[in-house]
């Protein structure tokens, strides 16, 4: 693997409630992201995946309500130690972000051209006219027809898919090295989702940016990712390249997730039973003892899994798993 652009070491995020209790939502997250690579972060609601992305951008509320620990290295600079002004120079410039809700993520009272242009103006020091020209170029780049006219439109005059394209244009305005996409297609219809995924793939091929793609949809992961991290209750529980992860998942949670998704490509012939995972995602304020997944796990071993917290171990080169019994899973596979 080439030198990583973004390297995250021991990231921890804790929230403090107004009552004083502390909730540890992201625990010891490590990963690296190289140029041109797409890393998918998969998890269910409450797994801490969105908080992880906001922590990288330092967009979480400040202390004392939220404490971030660890290191976030962008080409060697630790973002967590930058001043707020220094961090502003990174946001939207070197690391950009797109969000789940294109309906509410754009300011309703400003024209979309202006919303794209202000980022360029601030980071690249362009004049108003040049920045607007750049905005039109960007709208064209993200495949919006008639960009000159569309730059004058307000967000409410556009469809959901169009707005997400505008969000992507804003993110790409300053040619970022890293793009964080937080569930960018979840709110869209499947045909529009396919368009947006295609666009992101295409843009990545052209710009060589690295992409951290956050989603709960395993189909989307299979479609776009090079590597995958599976997150459960704030921890990375499995991490591997996309092919081995789907072919030979080692963590029982990953296996359960894959088994729970019906495959429409094989219905015509058969309908294999769905393996559902019993129970529900744990409350981050009251995580179970031992392995966080143990109360729902079909492979749990009493006296072991509910006592010890498993470490993240390399089962194979490039394939890490957090399970006390992964060796047995390896043999079975």
């Amino acid at each position: 693997m080439t030198q990583p652009i973004l390297s995250v070491r021991g990231l921890n995020v804790r929230f403090r409630g107004r009552g004083g209790g502390e909730v540890h939502v992201v625990r010891d997250v490590d990963f690296e992201l190289a140029a041109g690579q797409t890393l998918a972060l998969v998890g269910e609601s409450g797994s801490g995946k969105s908080v992880t992305s906001l922590a990288l951008m330092r967009l979480l509320p400040g202390e004392p309500r939220c404490r971030i620990g660890g290191r976030v290295l962008l080409e060697g600079r630790d973002l967590l130690y930058l001043t707020e002004a220094g961090m502003r120079g990174v946001r939207g410039n070197e690391i950009a972000m797109i969000f789940q809700e294109p309906m509410t993520s754009l300011n309703p009272v400003h024209r979309v051209g202006e919303q794209i242009a202000e980022s360029v103006r601030f980071h690249k020091g362009l004049g108003r006219r040049d920045a607007l020209d750049r905005a039109v170029e960007l709208l064209e780049l993200v495949g919006i027809p008639d960009p000159l006219r569309r730059a004058q439109a307000f967000p409410h005059e556009m469809s959901g898919g169009m707005r997400q394209r505008v969000m992507i244009a804003i993110a790409l305005a300053c040619d970022p090295k890293v793009l964080i996409a937080d569930e960018p297609t979840t709110a869209l219809d499947v045909t529009i989702q396919a368009q947006v995924l295609e666009l992101l793939r295409d843009l990545q091929a052209r710009t060589g940016m690295a992409m951290l793609f956050i989603t709960h949809n395993l189909g989307v992961v299979a479609e776009i990712a090079d590597r995958v991290m599976v997150m459960y209750a704030g921890r990375i529980v499995e991490q591997a390249a996309v092919d081995p992860l789907f072919a030979k998942p080692l963590m029982p949670y990953t296996r359960g997730l894959l088994g729970a998704v019906p495959r429409l490509d094989i219905f015509a012939k058969e309908k294999p039973p769905l393996t559902s995972i019993p129970g529900a995602v744990p409350d981050p304020a009251h995580p179970p003892k031992g392995c966080a997944f143990n109360p729902r796990c079909t492979h749990r071993q009493g006296g072991l899994c509910d006592q010890r917290t498993p470490p993240l171990e390399a089962a194979q080169p490039g394939h890490d798993v957090r399970c006390l019994r992964w060796r047995e899973a390896m043999e079975a596979a």
Binding site: G92, M97, P108, V109, E118, F122, H156, I170
Partner: protein, 316 residues
Amino acid sequence: MMRYLGSRLLQSILLLWIVSLIGFFVLYLAPGGPLAQFALTPGMTQEQLARIAHQMGLDRPLPVQYWEWLSRLLIGDWGQSYRDSQPVLAIIGSHLFATLLLMGASTLLAMIIGTWIGVLGAIRRYSIFDYLATIGAMIGLSIPTFWFGLIAIYLFSVKLPWFPAGNMYTVGDASFLDYAHHLVLPCLVLTLVTVAIWSRYMRSAMLDVQGQDFIRTARAKGLPEHVVLRKHAMRNAILPMITVAGLQIPTILSGALVAETVFTWPGMGRLFLDSLNYRDYPVVMGVLMFSAVFVLLGNLLADVLYAVADPRIRLT
């Protein structure tokens, strides 16, 4: 936008009609109804009263009477004062300026101060400033305006003779400074309430906007905080405030009435109270109807401003 404004206009006309029904109802509630003046005149016999009632058309069916009352209202014939036989509308007109001056000055002041307090409170939520502003606003809303006025007179007019305790100008002076000097105390008293309301709404509008996704987008672009605040947060938080301003008109008008009574300010409120004391029902009814129409027009104006300010309405 035209369709939006058209529908608003229609709604206002409908509302005006209901307002007139309520006004008519109140008028008939008066002891003796429109006959009250004559009923109070000593030596009036029942027959004479009945004759006057017939002359005034009071023995006809209510809908007919309502229709006549309404048509007179619409052509500007609002009756005559019992006191000095002046047309009601003319009397109201001669008192309007004073009230508008008082309301305008205090509203302007309240918007400036209230916006500042509200925005600052929202940005520094749960700070000492926010806490004090919250308590201050609650007390401001709770102090009876007339009592606060009395205390202000006692302190700043009696104990410390800094400001006049009443009237709008000194006879024989009437310069701009003289008006301003007289305006200070009533304006201060009225502003207290208005600032309290305005800062509360502004704070909650700012808090709402600050939680929106597009603010996160603006921050994710790396924009400086003052740009995020002014261009993205405040620009959106001001929108609902336009509606709030419209809805607060009756409250401010009520407040002005109270301030006018305490400071003998020669406005509509003073006129209203004097007429009430004289049982001058045409003027009382006139001021009541006029203030309702005033409020209605104010709300309509707020709707128009809103439509101009919000592109979501402007362009549809």
